[in-house]
């Protein structure tokens, strides 16, 4: 009888230890639950007070509405509202890995006097309908000081899914 109790205690301890290790892992395996599909409102802010890139380029810190879609296995996105210019609708694509996501967009630069570019968003799901992360902009202007050779700028962002979303 004592041996049975000891076995149960050892088994319980093993379950607790295994569970604790799993909850402390960097990326919980929850890829089945997270999706960006739906409409999101993203708010951007400077990182370390950097309002411009090293070469003086910027996208500003307007709020952006982004519609993420997934049809036929194709995960696409479009910026539906850009406060700096309401006629701009950059297109992009996205993916989700566990609680992390990545999205990339080609900017719409009609009549722009500054270099155009490509924007990537890297972030994580922080709660139901909430995300945060960083945006990296690769401007089409040479900068020999960066590893890519392009002028590069980053912003922080936080996002909330619009009411009625699918997340």
């Amino acid at each position: 009888m004592a041996l049975r109790y000891i076995s149960i205690l050892v088994l319980a301890a093993a379950v607790l230890i295994t569970g604790g290790a799993a909850s402390g892992s960097k990326r919980p395996a929850q890829s089945a639950g997270q999706t960006l599909v739906g409409d999101w409102i993203l708010s951007f802010s400077p990182i370390n007070g950097q309002n411009f890139s090293r070469l003086g380029n910027t996208l500003g810190f307007a709020d952006r509405d982004i519609a993420f879609d997934a049809q036929g296995g194709l995960q696409t996105a479009v910026v539906t509202r850009e406060d700096l210019n309401t006629s701009l609708h950059p297109l992009g694509a996205w993916r989700v890995m566990g609680d992390q996501f990545s999205a990339t967009f080609e900017l719409w630069c009609e009549g722009a006097t500054a270099p155009c570019g490509t924007v990537t968003l890297r972030g994580s799901f922080t709660d139901v309908g909430k995300v945060k992360g960083t945006a990296t902009v690769f401007f089409e202007q040479d900068d020999s000081t960066t590893p890519t050779g392009l002028d590069t700028w980053t912003m922080a962002f936080r996002g909330n899914q619009a009411a009625g979303g699918a997340n």
Partner: protein, 156 residues
């Protein structure tokens, strides 16, 4: 009919060139990316690897329909298709898409940005920028980056 010779022919030629220069930009613009292409992309296996890997993908770019950016699909050798976006200004083309993750870990997933110039059914002067998922505060992009190259040929 009087034949134009000597200085007259030169003036006529110059006049024709001037007329060509005055044609609308749409007539003289570079061919759009619309259509199917075969891309051969060379990038590092990871941000910490010196080994290169070659991706041969089929890119189908949808017409922009008056917009400045367009959608496209990228199909790899494993027949996995993902979405992407493209922009063209004159001959200069920029394409971006999310590379399907090859495995687990920050170095198995990446975003690709491909830049080049369209000329005669090919894309030349190419550059690939790889933005890996591995965070790196010392990189201006805040993530590991790598550079690569690509060659592209229109397949349809």
């Amino acid at each position: 009919m009087k034949q134009v010779t000597g200085p007259g022919r030169l003036l006529a030629s110059l006049g024709a060139l001037a007329c060509l220069a005055l044609l609308s930009p749409s007539v003289l613009a570079a061919a759009p990316l619309d259509g199917a292409w075969t891309f051969t992309i060379n990038i590092p296996e990871s941000s910490v690897s010196a080994n290169q890997r070659t991706l041969v993908v089929t890119v189908v770019a949808s017409p922009r329909d008056g917009a400045l950016v367009g959608k496209l699909t990228v199909t790899d050798a494993n027949n996995v298709t993902v979405a992407g976006a493209w922009r063209q200004q004159g001959k200069n083309v920029s394409i971006t898409y999310e590379l399907p993750c090859a495995g687990t870990g920050d170095n198995s997933c990446a975003t690709l940005i491909l830049k080049g110039k369209i000329k005669s059914g090919k894309i030349r002067t190419s550059q690939v920028i790889v933005l890996w998922d591995a965070a790196n505060n010392r990189n201006p992009a805040l993530f590991d980056t790598s550079n690569g190259t690509f060659a592209a040929q229109r397949s349809q």
